[in-house]
């Protein structure tokens, strides 16, 4: 029996998924930079560009900007100095700041997104900060000292990727009357982003879903029987979560829709082919290193995705009506490896895979009674479980009623066994 390397299976899916997403996700973030572009030429627009680190003295004839990490390193402070040319004295102005990630160079620049609706461009997550700058006293106003114009909370922003990022801050001074850009300056700043970026998250999401499918197959194959109902359930999940239907992405030109539909059908065919290959792999008695898969999921996926993964695995174990001992053992391991809280796992189990379906009843999995519990702790724990299920026994859903009745019996038997007559 061979041992399939994780990438072996997942790469099959990944290849399809990557090409698929490249196609459907082809449109770049709409509106990126669109608010910064001005049709009307700025007659007096003079700009400068500065980089972080030791730099030359600012040029007093143009607008200069610089960025610093301030506070508990939880905000960027943007400062400006130099000259701003307005069309008149006492011109009312606003400051607008946008941030671009240029780590991979200007051609591959990616916008920084905003978590806060207030700092988003309409209908787009792209970050743009706007604030009143007040009236400029003169036609040409020169700021001889650096003055702070914005303090931008880092928690407002979502960067494209994790790690060291080269950020370009574009600061514009705009006329409040007509939006005309009066001056602008850019400054680059290198920032170590500790959190996943939005591109990472998209990739991680795809990767997690692919790994989830792999785990689901592993659960299905745990008892060496890959039932058709289990396989069908996994395939449907993969189609719904990894595939995207052609008409699910809003209004399109008919030609574009047709093209997308064709591509979508092609993707579906390729996904189905990959899934069939995966089925064949498991039917041949091969296995996956589920621990490694879980470890990777924990590294890249938020808790909600781990719940989704475990939920699919529980549904697969439930699909044929009986959860084999091997399936239950693997599910218990998966919950542990995916770092899902024991109580949460038992709640999910109770809803999706009731004890009545378990080939063998495991008091730890079903009731949460562990071998290290004292008699008194076990008694109190069982009392809590009893209260919970006793309240469910008059449920209007007959399936829940039966489940609650079974659980009450099982709790009483467990108590007799573990606590005895004491």
């Amino acid at each position: 029996m061979g041992k399939l390397l994780i990438p072996g299976l997942t790469e099959i899916l990944k290849t399809i998924v990557t090409s698929f997403f490249r196609f459907v996700g082809g449109s770049k973030s709409p509106g990126y930079g669109s608010r910064l572009r001005r049709d009307e030429p700025a007659l007096w627009k003079v700009s400068s560009n500065q980089s972080a680190g030791p730099s030359a003295e600012p040029d007093p004839n143009v607008l200069n900007c610089r960025v610093q990490l301030t506070g508990q390193e939880d905000a960027f402070t943007v400062e400006i100095c130099g000259s701003i040319h307005a069309t008149s004295d006492m011109h009312y102005t606003i400051v607008q700041i946008s941030i671009t990630d240029i780590t991979d160079g200007i051609p591959q620049a990616q916008p920084v997104h905003s978590r806060v609706e207030q700092w988003q461009i309409q209908d787009s997550p792209v970050f743009v900060y706007n604030a009143d700058l007040g009236r400029l006293p003169n036609h040409v106003t020169t700021l001889s000292d650096w003055i702070s114009v914005a303090r931008l909370g880092i928690d407002w922003m979502i960067f494209p990727r994790k790690g060291e990022r080269k950020l370009q801050f574009s600061t514009s001074i705009l006329s409040r009357w007509n939006g005309q850009e009066l001056a602008c300056a850019t400054s680059t700043f290198t920032y170590e982003n500790p959190a996943f970026g939005y591109i990472d998250l998209q990739e991680n999401s795809r990767r997690t879903k692919t790994l989830t499918v792999a785990l689901a197959f592993a659960v299905s194959a745990a008892d060496n029987k890959l039932f058709d109902c289990e396989v069908e359930l996994i395939k449907n999940w993969a189609r719904n979560n990894i595939g995207v239907s052609a008409n699910s992405r809003g209004n399109r030109h008919p030609a574009e829709s047709l093209k997308l539909a064709q591509a979508s059908n092609e993707t579906k065919r390729e996904l189905d082919k990959a899934l069939d290959e995966a089925v064949g792999f498991f039917r041949d008695g091969n296995q996956l290193d589920t621990y490694k898969i879980c470890k990777e999921i924990v590294e890249i996926a938020p808790l909600a995705y781990r719940y989704d993964a475990l939920e699919l695995c529980l549904r697969v174990a439930q699909a044929d009506g009986v959860a084999a001992v091997e399936e239950l053992t693997l599910l218990k391991d998966l919950a542990n490896w995916l770092e899902v809280d024991t109580n949460r796992f038992r709640e999910m189990m109770a809803k999706i895979l009731p004890a009545g379906m378990h080939e063998e009843k495991d008091v730890e999995v079903i009731l949460g009674v562990t071998s290290d519990m004292s008699k008194d702790k076990t008694r109190k724990h069982l009392n809590k479980e009893y209260s919970k299920w006793n309240a469910r026994v008059t449920n209007t859903d007959s399936e829940i009623q039966t489940q609650a009745d079974d659980m009450l019996k099982f709790i009483a038997e467990t108590r007799s066994e573990y606590i005895g007559k004491s």
Partner: protein, 516 residues
Amino acid sequence: MANIVGIDIGTTFSALAVLNAIGKPEIVPNADGERLTPSAIFFDEENSDVIRVGVEAINSRHLNAERSVRWIKRHMGDANYHKNVDGKDWTPVELSALILKKLKQECSAEHGEISDVVISVPAHFDEVRRKATMDAGTMAGLNVIGIVNEPVAAALYYATTREVSGKVLVYDLGGGTFDVTIMNVKGHQMEIVCSQGDHALGGIDFDKEILKMLEQGYKEKFSAELINSDEDRAKYEDEAEDVKKTLSRRKTAKKMLYGSAGNLKVEITREMFEQAISSLIARTDILVEVALEEAGIEPSGIDKVLLVGGSTRIPLVQERLEKTFGFAPETAVNVDECVALGAALHAGLTVLRENPDAVPAGISSGLNDVNLTDVCNHSYGTICAPVDKETGRRVVQNRIILKKNTPLPCEASQMFYTMSKGQTEVEVTITQGEDTAPEYVNKIATHKFELPPDRPAKCPIKVTYSYDVNQRMHCRFQDLESDRVLEVKFSLDKNGEISQSDIRQKAEKLEHLKVE
């Protein structure tokens, strides 16, 4: 004089008590002179208009099980249960009404007209089952003025007939249900602290264990089934009950089994029986502990344990209680009758509170100093959709507003918020149950609450639930900005209960049936 009556409609036996001229409750014997009437029904084969209730129904069941019904209380409120006889589907409410009709007519024959009735129910009965029980009374032609929890009724009778003071635990193990209630008693002042109940634990479950032993013994001897028909089952169910009762008095019980493969004499010892019911007894132990935990009391804090219900005669039950509390439980009152007697007292108190002029002076003075504070029997909540802190996803959840075991009358409010911009209505759901997961609670009413248009999200809605001393619930949903209010008249609109007009129609039909 019109009579004020209390009825205990039990899983296996029912009883009726009437308040006498000085406000003391008395059991009214049935036409056979028995103080308890078996809760059994038999539809006569010869005359379809005749329905037999009581001992005769039990005996007839052995001859034609198809036309008989027992333990109907277990099915109260179950919309899916029907007993089909001669093409008619009888619901649990209608079947219970037949038992109540029998009790009513035999009391009326002896004492005259019944004016007001309180019927007892297990403490853990939910709103659907309580309403179903009241409907059964109305259908039987009774003026049901209230419902009382069985352990409360028993304690009421106990406290008015004995000198009691301190914390009392009422241990009510009946034919089909089990309740534990803890209360503070000081003379005639009674304050319920909490109640816990198990809806499927009672004498018939002990009988089932004995029946299993009989069937198993027969199969081991003859490799054949003892029970081959519904009539066989009916017969041996009663034999099992008989064995159980014998084992409460003696150490062994003997039975002759007449099966198709041959006859077998079996002997069941008390030890065998106790072994067989050990997990059921474990359930009673758990419920006692849960009630004590809920009340925040150690076993040593309990001053008296009051036994109620026929199944408390099982020696093991009494031994376990003595071991837990360190003293023997109280057996001074009749465990089979105290619920009906207490229900009659409760009926007197209800009439005294709501219509004092209607209560004869003797009864009024007899009940004058009795005061009972009850609690909310269940938790009541509403469905909402908060954001899960762990996952950041919106989840549908049941939020409890009025907590179980809150002293009555009570009121509680919580604030909720609209979810989206321009939201013009909210679906409000009233739930009953202890869980946060919506699938595990019963949705007892759902209404649409219309809101003003063109508003932002997160507009506050105040939800207030209150519960009065008559165990009636009121719900109020208030949109704070517009001051619009939705008052929910608490009516049960599904799950087995029926409308008032239906009840009247069915009551008229029952009127023509002869219940003997």
